[in-house]
Symmetry: C2
């Protein structure tokens, strides 16, 4: 629901001029992404997405995000291409904000996740991990183990006011994960936010992956665990093992999962559940009234966490 | 900033099937209009706007709004064409809401109003009034004189908490307008909400008029007075008489303004200022925290009202 910054007409026209993208025909603010302002632009040459980076995005990270999209698109991944102006520049300043112009991707994100979506997502995530292997830049995941500690400290005093018992659940889980978090698993480029609204489909075929603004360098299997949480729970918070099996097998068919990665999956899934529980809790507590954002229920991820706490091995996710 | 209702994928596909509009390629919620949910749809056949009517729109009014767009578009006005399904139906039900599919109009609404915009808007409004003359349906303007009385009653007890003195300003103005409101001026189809975000331009040419969901049958010159307020004040709330002259002369060149209409303009402009002051005040007082709407400052229209209170005749608007 994101259009926070309005762009003066002249600035928009001057921008398109610098890219040689023809004359502006239409500009619509679109409800895509939560962190940034996004405009769908149509010019006499084509259709593009203009993103203005709002305050949650650190401008220092933008070369990584844009460089990664460039890299992945060049490898044929269905992600947006970053456009460069006549001087080769991708990162612009518009209405006082960092901004970039990227290609428009056809496709619709699935409002209701079906089993076939999960297999496609698994394959695409593995493809992204392989394509990212020779990407030269790195970015620390600020929302992994170290970041959780900071988040817990900032939220815990309010946690029980959201739900009694939440504080100790979070503190105990953090202590557990700190003691068992895997260290020797393969590391690489992670999307780290591959939720259903970031994946487009045309019919049953995946046509696009968007929103690389949480991308980072982390355990590849942690990225997979994020998808287990994002794609395999039903709306009633029950876990659909058919979806999980399709997701994991789709992934493993493209990038084999090692024994160590399989063994770590329940821990990684707990970590991923804690991560989204914490950020949603943080937003829940800190979101000012009147902010134009739909607050997401942190307790959804509390329930996911409890599910994974009860999991003995990755067999529970449908892996043979 | 308007996407209140999400449409299930299957319902959207079934809808397009009923219209024979090809296969869905993209669907984006767009930040257009405040009252309804709007989606920009791209199919293999073309680009369309899907509107879901939210609770502020009375479903009984929809045949008037859709019929009016049909009527005006058939007369060549640059307004959206209403699409009809294979059974000839325009009004649909989607995600439990009334919905309609209309054509997409090229153009950009001006973020900053320049003088040339005002001449174009005047001409287009007069064209709309002429084209509406033989439209057979009517709709009472619930936000004209009678409606203000109701609005004042619902707001006045909170008015002074927004700004001291606002209550008496409003009550006195309502009493004045009730005593002098003109009755014998030409009546017809009014847009009644022709603000800058409802008018598209391609370069210096007006390319589209949208959002007919306040359209009604009322004094044509009242519609013109709404535009005086919407287009001729600067951001510092000063009145730009060059813009007003261009607007009025643009209008009069297409549909002559009678002496009686000219004489009534200051009163009509006061009425229009009170109308938007009251609805904004109502929203200001009643908007729940967390609603995804940018609240508009009611005091902007208090200042416009004060300007018109000081106007002796339409000469102040640049009319000879």
């Amino acid at each position: 629901m994101a259009v926070y910054t309005e762009v003066p007409d002249e600035e928009l026209e001057a921008l398109l001029e610098r890219y040689g993208l023809g004359t502006l025909v239409s500009a619509k603010g679109i409800a895509e992404g939560v962190e940034n302002s996004n405009y769908l632009l149509r010019t006499t040459e084509g259709t593009y997405i203009l993103t203005l980076y709002e305050k949650r995005v650190d401008p220092k990270d933008l070369p990584f995000f844009l460089g990664l999209m460039d890299h992945l698109a060049a490898k044929g991944l269905p992600c947006p291409k970053v456009l460069h102006d006549r001087d080769g520049k991708a990162l612009q300043t518009l209405a006082g904000r960092p901004a970039a112009l990227i290609s428009f991707l056809d496709g619709i994100w699935p409002k209701k996740i079906k089993t076939f979506h999960c297999g496609e997502v698994g394959k695409a995530l593995a493809g992204l991990h392989l394509a990212g292997q020779d990407f030269s830049m790195t970015r620390k995941n600020s929302l992994s183990l170290d970041g959780w500690d900071t988040l817990v400290k900032s939220c815990r005093d309010h946690a029980d006011s959201v739900e009694p018992g939440l504080k100790s659940l979070i503190e105990d889980e953090l202590a557990h994960l700190q003691s068992v978090w895997p260290k020797d698993l393969p590391i690489g480029v992670c999307h780290a936010d591959l939720f259903q609204d970031n994946v487009f489909f045309l019919g049953e075929k995946l046509s696009g992956i968007i929103d690389f603004y949480f991308a980072c360098t982390d355990l590849l299997s942690y990225d997979l665990a994020i998808c287990l949480n994002a794609w395999c729970f039903e709306r009633d918070r029950s876990f659909n093992v058919t979806k999980a099996r399709l997701l994991l097998n789709g992934y493993a068919g493209v990038r084999p999962i090692s024994r160590a990665e399989v063994a770590a999956l329940p821990t990684l899934a707990r970590g991923s559940a804690l991560r989204f529980l914490l950020t949603r809790l943080y937003d829940w507590i800190n979101c000012p009234p009147g902010a134009m954002v739909v607050k997401k229920d942190p307790l959804e991820y509390r329930d996911y966490l409890r599910f994974h706490q009860g999991v003995g091995s990755a067999a529970a996710y449908g892996l043979a």
